[in-house]
Symmetry: C2
Subunit: 393 residues, 2 copies
């Protein structure tokens, strides 16, 4: 028996576990000092009351023979898929019910989607980027090239003459940079993908943070996307489902390569290697789109948006170059005086008691930058920003 | 972009969807006739009160900032893993906490485990078998050979001289046949796997149906299994979690190939392509092992076991050859007069209004057999058995 040796090519130490270890070490050495964390992308506000009510009701249904539900449809209940059709419809994106495939989260879909993609394809990944895009491709022994985000392109790389790719990852609003592609910019990627017969894997996990009505929240707002893109999205950020687990993939009917439908293959993959998202969770997810649910969710999102604004304005006040923080929960900023990311991280933690995420952990183009997140408490956010600013003075 | 063409090698029509279509057609043509279904493997009893209470409590925790839980540990909360350590410990199987990796279900694990296994391995699958074993290997373009279950071996094939395999699937109690390997028989597989440096993927989804204390409920009750086997199990059958979704994989520390740990690779796979089982669901699963939970679960299991006994005794009363029905929710029986499986299925449905699962749908060695399940209502089970017996008279 031979194991998959490509796993040995993975980088050993994962970014967030290294950050966590350094924080633990600092706290052990300084038990009396408070640590202000703006490092992780996890939400902190509880689930909305409408979601809680729907889940209590669903738990109760599972308690009685008359209403008990066993195996559900592997691809998701229609009651949730129809809410998602409406959600997209409200911003002018027309989807059919069976173009939406419900899952246990975007992270699962982003990894599992590779099952339906031949290993011979050339994969293009932006750098800096969410580390899992790279890892899942390394595990599959796939050929990866990167395209650089930097200050010149506002961390929104665009296709250029001579660029080659079969599979293209795009995350907008971006993790880690918070940069958001405009419609014109996304159109360039869609045209490029269609001209190359390439597939775009569009990660829309942060779409709910977009408030600027001119910015695209779905790649399917772009003409031509239905023949070149799938979109993977999540309830984690819109509704705080990080520990409740629900996501979905949109695979349009027109997305066909060599006569084979991506939707049909993904459907088969999920029906064979997955058995559906818990009924209780799907009821909770559907409640997000009720009138009360949507109102409650927006209050939570606004709280995080206000945090992002505090971070952004703080950095602006001392003239730090940054991107994100508007239409995104992440702010991506340049370290002072050309400091390396990890050097800055250590100084910020050890001298100021603040935890950021070092940009270099997201790829070589992240060197010299760091990420702050808007998911913290208000007082933690305010105090952390005050301290970060001190470091620049 | 090239899609994974191995998906085109999958058989188009899935067993259970064909069964469902035929039943729909019969009901449309005979709207006044009642149909008695003993075909599907889904549970019908509601979740146990202890599980319901634990899930209500967990939903409530998610409603308040002080108790809200975001991202959980990808491999499962310790509160659930320690319950599983105890559950195995009670039958003398000693496991460490991090040898148990919690997931959203056995079906996911049975498919996803192939990510860590090199495609060059030779896969051995018993026939008849749960169709997903074959499908997930076909999708990966793997070389599959089968080993025949038949009346001579009681549908419990054993290794023989000249048999070759790198990866071996074993399901005991078996789906679809209900046959259960003895310790001596499993020891033959364990010795074979160790001698060949092969991996056994042991599917223990139906272990909770075993009441005979001499029969093994885990492969880790067999000496030598920790160096050749992983075990995949589920809360679906023990506690009716088919729509609630929780399972786990046991990967012992001693399971190492070419110096690489299976536990470490599966850990990395799940940490990268999965984000944990919902907190609410894990709380429900842990409650299964409380004193009340275990008592309530056993009542449900006994109900299904009594159904199995009714089926078994009915078939015995007219001298039908069958296996299973003891220590298993499935009964696997020979059709009358050498009838083909689908011919029998059609006759049983159209003339007697009873739905079975045709054995041929589980592989070529299933031809001439059919499966009945114990998961139905009591009255449906009784009436269905009465009608099946009629067909034999």
């Amino acid at each position: 028996m031979k194991l998959n040796n490509h796993f040995l090519e993975l980088k050993d130490s994962y970014l967030f576990s290294t950050v966590a270890r350094k924080v633990r070490e600092f706290q052990a050495a300084n038990p009396d000092k408070k640590v202000y964390k703006l490092s992780i992308g996890d939400v902190t506000l509880p689930l909305a009351p409408a979601v809680i009510k729907a889940m209590h009701d669903a738990v109760e249904e599972q308690a009685h023979k008359e209403t008990f539900r066993g195996y559900g449809p592997e691809l998701g209940y229609d009651f949730l898929r129809s809410e998602l059709v409406n959600y997209y419809g409200k911003r002018g994106v027309k989807l059919e019910l069976d173009e939406i495939i419900v899952s246990d989260g975007a992270k699962s879909d982003l990894g599992n989607i590779l099952d339906i993609i031949d290993p011979s394809n050339k994969v293009l990944i932006p750098d800096p980027v969410y580390p899992a895009y790279v890892d899942v491709n390394v595990m599959g022994g796939r050929k990866i090239s990167t395209i650089a985000g930097n200050e010149a392109n506002g961390f929104k790389p665009l296709p250029y003459d001579g660029l080659d790719a079969d599979v293209i990852y795009i995350c907008s609003p971006n993790n880690p940079t918070g940069a958001v592609y405009t419609k014109d910019e996304l159109k360039k990627w869609v045209d490029f993908a269609n001209s190359k017969n390439a597939l775009i894997i569009f990660d829309a996990a942060y779409e709910s943070f977009i408030t600027d009505p001119t910015l695209p929240r779905s790649i399917f707002e772009i003409e031509g996307a239905r023949t070149c893109a799938i979109e993977i999205c999540s309830f984690s950020k819109i509704a705080g489902f990080t520990g409740t687990r629900c996501g979905y993939t949109v695979a349009p009917k027109e997305l066909v390569f060599d006569g084979i439908s991506v939707n049909a293959l993904w459907n088969r993959r999920q029906s064979t290697k997955f058995n559906g998202t818990p009924y209780i969770v799907q009821r909770g997810a559907a409640a997000v789109f009720s009138d009360e649910g949507m109102k409650q969710i927006q209050e939570n999102l606004q709280f995080y948006r206000d945090n992002a604004k505090i971070i952004k304005e703080g950095l602006n006040s001392v003239g730090v170059w940054s991107v994100g923080g508007e239409n995104s929960p992440y702010v991506w900023a340049r370290t002072p005086k050309g400091m390396k990311s990890w050097e800055f991280f250590d100084k910020l933690l050890n001298e100021y008691g603040v935890v950021c995420t070092p940009g270099a952990g997201f790829g070589e183009n992240g060197e010299g930058y760091f990420r702050l997140t808007a998911f913290g408490d208000r007082e933690v956010t305010k105090e952390a920003v005050k301290r970060v600013i001190e470091l620049y003075k």
